[in-house]
């Protein structure tokens, strides 16, 4: 064990085990999580080789092998609970990229949500047992988030009772679906339904793409891998082009909408139901943001306690870089953010389950707010995490750039979260649409509830874009409640400004859509402020639920740091809205620096509490024992370039270069 880390752990003000229980939800959850972890980590069947030294094709092969083993093991260990399946997969795949993953995360859930009972009977069993490996093909080469723009067509032919699938243009080729390139033999394809000469919009179809037995593409199907990407080397994201490809009528998922044998179209009852899956995935991504940022913080903070550099006072030994104020200022706000997002993620998961209960009883009233919140928080947390992982990597200096740090892999595999399941800017604008609706509702005299209820206070306060001090409150910068209040005022103000600017543009331009576009920078800002408020609020409320004094104290410091850092970074909003004064901002900046010093002794224990095992971190710099340099040297010796003492290119190129000149 590295001496520095040993000292850090001994000096912490709390027992990280107790904090781990808070993060997992209960001691029982922690116990069960570790049980599953050990099941995998101690199992020789899951060989955890270092992917960094493998080619893309080798990485794909390893992932497929692990998927296959995993299916066997889950049956053997009888792991069926969805949450446990998630843990199980995450662990043994380390980076959670698996070519057959879409079968479970998209193909089967879509079949369950949109397939009739007969359809489920036909396909569910074989897809659960992987006789069918399915994927979900929505995105096209030229079209993404805007669903109505998709070009793939499914034209019904009543004579044969078949749908004819076509990719009419190059931009309509399905592009990106995971597992499509090489692995899957079926896909749920989203296509524009045309029957009796009329287009009825997007519907889902089950499309066989590869032949059983040979795995060769079926006639009429062109399918392949879309080539190398930033990350996700293990995944065969694919393309799919269909050329007058016929499938039986029964392959359209018909739980909601139907096409009768004669071609008559029957409309679905409600569109809102499809929100459910999206909300689930986006809520899950909020938690994923928290986990990835937590991993990055673990690596950067442990390494910063091991790394010594330069001098603070001449003559003394080189200090740990974690003792530099600038290093603390880079890392501790991110650590606080990671904790904030852990709690936001837990809240989203709970809310999703609660509202899902309501939905199953036919109560859809809370769905629009949840949908808006999930969209906004997915964007808010993934943007922050994206920047945060990068900041952690850069805080590790040169070694952060090496794959040995694990940080490049965490980054490249996380960053698509900003794009998939709804591009972040578009997500923010969806939240903004809900905020604008709520604002209008308040103005027409109706109260709104939930997270936006602060808008109810607006009409009485007559906020103007450049008002003088109208806020009745004085912000106490040491009170999480009071800071939540300040964030609420900021959100209210920015929502109001966006709404007013939108109205002004409408008056000038007379087209709602043009006005919306010309206000969209304001609208995104309003959504961000709303999400930021939600995060601060959830963090400060979490403090009340914690009994253990030492844990509460340390979380309270993190909560304050998270809130104050956000104020400092957005000081203009708080000043311009007269929510805080200049001298308060100065106090905020001073308080942040004090908090850095207060958190410093607990920093290592705070990342230990995330409880990531070394294999899961995949980082030489972030090792629990802190023996960084020895292992770094050993790791480098494994580089493929070191296989021979003199590289062949010396003989091929260098030698002749030297002799010819």
């Amino acid at each position: 064990m590295n001496q520095d880390l040993q000292k850090e752990r001994a000096a912490a003000s709390f027992n990280p085990e107790l904090l781990t229980h808070v993060l997992d939800g209960s001691p029982e959850n922690t116990r069960r999580r570790r049980e599953i972890e050990n099941l995998i980590l101690k199992d020789p069947d899951f060989q955890h080789e270092d992917l960094n030294f493998l080619s893309r094709s080798q990485r794909y092969e390893v992932a497929v092998r692990k998927s296959a083993t995993m299916v066997e093991k889950m049956r053997k260990f009888n792991i069926a609970d969805p949450a446990e399946i998630m843990w199980f997969k995450k662990l043994h795949l380390v980076n959670f990229v698996e070519p057959v993953g879409l079968n479970y995360s998209m193909f089967i859930p879509t079949l369950l949500n949109q397939g009739t009972t007969a359809q489920q009977e036909k396909w569910l069993l074989s897809s659960k047992g992987l006789e069918i490996i399915g994927t979900y093909a929505q995105t096209e080469m030229g079209h993404g988030t805007h669903l109505r723009g998709l070009e793939t067509t499914a034209t019904y032919d009543p004579e044969t009772q078949e749908f004819i699938l076509n990719s009419p243009t190059v931009t309509s080729i399905k592009w990106w679906p995971g597992g499509l390139g090489k692995t899957s033999n079926h896909a749920i394809v989203l296509a524009q339904l045309i029957t009796q000469g009329k287009c009825y919009g997007l519907h889902a179809f089950i499309v066989p793409i590869r032949e059983f037995g040979t795995h060769k593409p079926l006639p009429g199907i062109t399918v392949g891998d879309i080539g190398p990407k930033f990350g996700y080397d293990e995944m065969d994201n694919g393309y799919l082009k269909m050329d007058n490809y016929r499938i039986p009528r029964e392959n359209m998922l018909m739980k909601h909408a139907q096409v009768k044998p004669d071609g008559t179209y029957v409309k679905p009852l409600s569109n809102k139901l499809t929100y459910g899956t999206m909300v689930f995935i986006r809520s899950f991504l909020v938690g994923e943001s928290a986990r990835c940022l937590s991993k990055a913080c673990t690596i950067a903070i442990r390494y910063s306690a091991v790394r010594h550099q330069s001098e603070i006072t001449p003559g003394e030994p080189e200090p740990q870089i974690l003792d530099y104020q600038t290093q603390q200022y880079k890392l501790f706000p991110l650590l606080a953010t990671a904790y904030a997002f852990q709690f936001v993620g837990a809240y989203m998961k709970e809310t999703y389950h609660r509202i899902n209960e309501d939905i199953s009883q036919g109560d859809l009233s809370e769905l629009p707010e949840l949908h808006a919140l999930a969209a906004g928080l997915k964007a808010f947390t993934s943007w922050t995490t994206n920047t945060g992982i990068e900041a952690c990597r850069m805080a590790c200096g040169g070694h952060g750039y090496s794959h040995c740090s694990g940080l490049p892999n965490i980054y490249v595999n996380f960053t698509p979260t900003c794009t998939f399941e709804g591009e972040n800017t578009v997500m923010m604008l969806q939240t903004a649409r809900f905020l604008m609706k709520s604002y209008d509702q308040v103005h027409s005299g109706k109260l709104v509830c939930g997270m936006v209820s602060y808008l109810n206070d607006l009409p009485s306060q007559h906020i103007q874009p450049q008002q003088v001090a109208v806020w009745p409150t004085v912000v106490d910068i040491n009170s999480p409640d009071s800071l939540t209040e300040a964030y609420k005022l900021r959100a209210a103000r920015l929502v109001e400004i966006a709404a007013k600017n939108l109205q002004t543009e409408v008056i000038h331009r007379k087209s709602k859509e043009v006005a919306w576009n010309l206000t969209s920078v304001d609208l995104v800002q309003a959504s961000e402020a709303h999400c930021h408020y939600v995060a601060v609020k959830l963090f400060s409320e979490k403090l009340l639920q914690i009994q253990e004094k030492s844990i509460q104290a340390v979380l309270r410091n993190l909560c304050l740091l998270y809130s104050l850092y956000g104020i400092s970074r957005n000081a203009g909003d708080f000043l311009q809205g007269s929510i805080m004064t200049e001298s308060q901002i100065t106090q905020v900046n001073e308080r942040i620096k004090e908090l850095l010093t207060v958190i410093r002794p607990d920093a290592v224990a705070l990342v230990d509490a995330f409880d990531f095992q070394d294999v899961t971190l995949g980082s030489v710099l972030g090792r629990y024992d802190g023996n960084v340099y020895e292992n770094l040297f050993e790791w480098a010796k494994k580089s493929p370039l070191n296989k021979t003492e003199v590289h062949e290119s010396y003989h091929k190129h260098l030698k002749s270069l030297q002799s010819k000149l």
């Binding site: 094709s57 794909y60 092998r65 296959a68 074989s126 030229g142 080729i173 390139g181 090489k182 033999n185 059983f212 795995h215 392949g224 879309i226 080539g227 990407k229 930033f230 393309y239 330069s310 001098e311 603070i312 104020q325 600038t326 880079k330 990068e390 040169g398 952060g400 750039y401 090496s402 794959h403 900003c418 794009t419 998939f420 591009e423 450049q466 859509e513 043009v514 576009n517 010309l518 000081a571 909003d573 000043l575 311009q576 200049e582 901002i585 340099y629 040297f633 480098a636 494994k638 370039l641 003199v646 590289h647 290119s649 010396y650 091929k652 260098l654 002749s656 270069l657 010819k660 000149l661």
Partner: protein, 608 residues
């Protein structure tokens, strides 16, 4: 390509270009070679030869230059520059490698005493270099004399095998720079002759007497040179390319509708997309002028420094350090923004953007970690501020900080939106904020010291605000350089006009992202912030019209962009499909199917 293949390709390219240069008589600092490099996107092996030579010419005596430089030019030796160690980076004094003088044999014994002293990261070291310029602690006559540079032969010129006492190899896979064999070097009492210590600024006489000829700073000179060069040779073009790709793609890509009746709109017509892409574009242009201006300043001061006149060195050092940090930080952010602005396809390597991002992002660390560099600028600012306060001092302040003594307005005079389009107005605003933050940072430092804190501890406890002050100062300098560059374009009014919009956008975007600093002491009012914001948003629409031509003007060939999204003809989707089909995953078989997928698919069946 694998790491091994990319390395080989880079060496091969270097080989061909060297033959070409020799045939056509291009000298090694020539414009021709710079252009040739630009067209190959710098994907060349043996780049460190150049760093070695720069260091040699800055730190070597005339005899040493005469001996080693021609060997480098003819590639009879392949050299690298080995400074960073496994446990030590930017902080030179902390390096552990030792060079102990042995008067009996007139040799230096170069040695890595610990694991953390192993040289780590130097480019071309892993597999290629025959010689390394090793930075080591000089010990002679029993005294430590600090860091000096030594030429150490590491591989046999006959068969390329490592020489006795040398352990050398590649440090393993990185985020990028696969083509470069960054390496490690462990030295076990390796002996080099006395003449191998570079001795322009310090000498060791045969009997071991140490003679100092320059200031302690002179050793930094080679770093200053490299920092200036690296901006225009490597860092800025990467941002420019990212802008070209993202902006071209944004007029091809259509998504959603602006009006229900319209066809899908080009994504560049969305305000949010403009707000993502135009500030990086403005930066790409701003930094072009910044790099030019720095180079001019460098050449002005360089010759006097070589004559051992060090008066301009502090400013040169502070400015080059800070600008390297600011420009690389913004280029990193900008390139990543461009990548993400291309949605899913930006994640595909076929877009060319991931490689630009992973490449530019290394620049936050190499040639000096950015935070450390900002703080070097900050130290210079503190000194300059204190100098400005001494009314007795007759010496004028260095040019870049002259504004510290200029008369300052307490409030911005802007009254309408259009006022924010006056270069003088926003330059003054930036000068005001920079001056205030520098004043605050000095004030904080002094208060802490007066309350009894040790000078060094006080510095550490105020570094966050020093960082902020340095960034504001550097932003001010870039705004000023950009506006001055515009003035020189009077004869080309059309060009001047379009660049002025970018300059305005650059300055205002900086204000918009730091409104707190401008509101803080009431320099700008809330109403003025709203005006500046309006001016900023209006500029987006004006720049939209010229956006494509502004990216065409960088004049990168398709081959050099290597992007399916950013090609000049805009045939994005056709190219994307073609390139994907060529991917090895599609042209080679799928061994995973036979091994795992097939049993998986059939295992279930057999159990039925």
């Amino acid at each position: 390509m694998t790491q091994n293949e990319r390395y080989e390709a880079a060496i091969k390219k270097k080989f061909h270009i060297q033959m070409l240069a020799q045939r056509l008589g291009w000298s090694e600092d020539s414009r021709e070679l710079y252009y040739a490099n630009r067209s190959l996107s710098g994907d060349l092996g043996l780049a460190l030869q150049f760093v070695f030579q720069k260091a040699l010419r800055s730190l070597g005596s005339e005899e040493q230059i005469a001996k080693w430089d021609p060997l480098c030019n003819k590639l009879q030796i392949l050299a690298t520059y080995a400074q960073t160690e496994l446990g030590h980076g930017t902080y030179l004094q902390g390096l552990e490698t030792e060079a102990t003088y042995d008067a009996a044999t007139q040799e230096f014994v170069v040695h890595s005493p610990t694991l953390t002293a192993i040289k780590w990261w130097p480019g071309d070291l892993g597999r290629s270099a025959t010689h390394a310029l090793v930075q080591a602690q000089l010990i002679c006559s029993g005294a430590q004399q600090g860091m000096h540079a030594f030429i150490v032969p590491i591989r046999s010129l006959e068969d390329h095998s490592p020489l006795p006492g040398i352990t050398v190899g590649d440090i393993g896979p990185k985020m990028d720079f696969d083509h470069s064999d960054n390496g490690f070097l462990q030295l076990d009492h390796v002996r080099v002759p006395r003449e191998n210590m570079l001795s322009r600024f310090a000498q060791v006489l045969p009997d071991g007497t140490y003679i100092k000829l320059g200031t302690a700073k002179s050793n930094y000179l080679s770093m200053v040179v490299v920092r200036v060069d690296i901006l225009s040779d490597e860092v800025i073009p990467l941002l420019q390319k990212a802008c070209v790709i993202a902006i071209r793609y944004s007029v091809i890509r259509r998504q959603s509708r602006l009006r229900p009746s319209d066809p899908e709109a080009k994504v560049l017509d969305y305000q949010t997309q403009q707000q993502k892409l135009f500030p990086p574009l403005a930066k790409a242009y701003a930094f072009h002028f910044v790099a030019n201006s720095l180079l001019e300043f460098f050449h002005r001061s360089y010759s006097s420094i070589l004559d051992r006149d060090f008066s301009l060195l502090p400013e040169l050092h502070a400015l080059s350090a800070g600008m390297k940090a600011l420009v690389s930080d913004f280029c990193i952010q900008g390139a990543e923004l461009c990548r993400r602005a291309c949605g899913g396809h930006g994640y595909s390597k076929l877009s060319g953007l991931p490689s630009l991002v992973t490449r530019v992002t290394a620049s936050c660390t190499y040639e000096g970690e950015n935070t450390v560099l900002y703080l070097q600028t900050a130290r210079f600012l503190v000194k300059s501020y204190l100098q400005a306060q001494e009314s007795t001092s007759q010496r004028s302040l260095p040019q870049s900080v002259a504004y510290l003594t200029a008369p300052d307005l307490a409030m911005c005079p802007a009254q309408k939106v259009a006022d924010f389009l006056h270069p003088e107005l926003y330059t003054t605003a930036w000068a005001h904020v920079a001056a205030r933050l520098i004043k605050d940072s000095v004030h904080h430092l002094q208060t802490l010291m007066q309350s009894g804190a040790d000078r060094h501890e006080a510095w550490n406890q105020t570094t966050v605000i020093h960082l902020q002050a340095a960034k504001a100062h550097l932003y001010y300098v870039t705004v000023k350089i950009f506006t001055e560059a515009l003035e020189k374009l009077e004869n080309q009014p059309a060009i001047q006009q379009v660049l002025k919009r970018l300059c305005d956008l650059y300055a205002l975007h900086g204000i918009m992202t730091n409104t707190g600093d401008f509101l803080h002491d009431g320099f700008l009012s809330g109403a003025q912030i709203d005006m500046a914001r309006k001016a900023y948003l209006d500029l987006l629409l004006l720049i939209r019209k010229d956006a494509i031509l502004l990216t065409d003007a960088f004049d990168f060939s398709d081959q050099c962009l290597n992007s399916a999204l950013g090609c000049y003809d805009g045939n994005v989707y056709e190219r994307l499909f073609q390139w994907a089909q060529k991917s090895p995953t599609n042209t080679q078989g799928n061994p995973a199917y036979e091994k795992y997928i097939r049993p998986l698919l059939q295992g279930w069946r057999s159990r039925l």
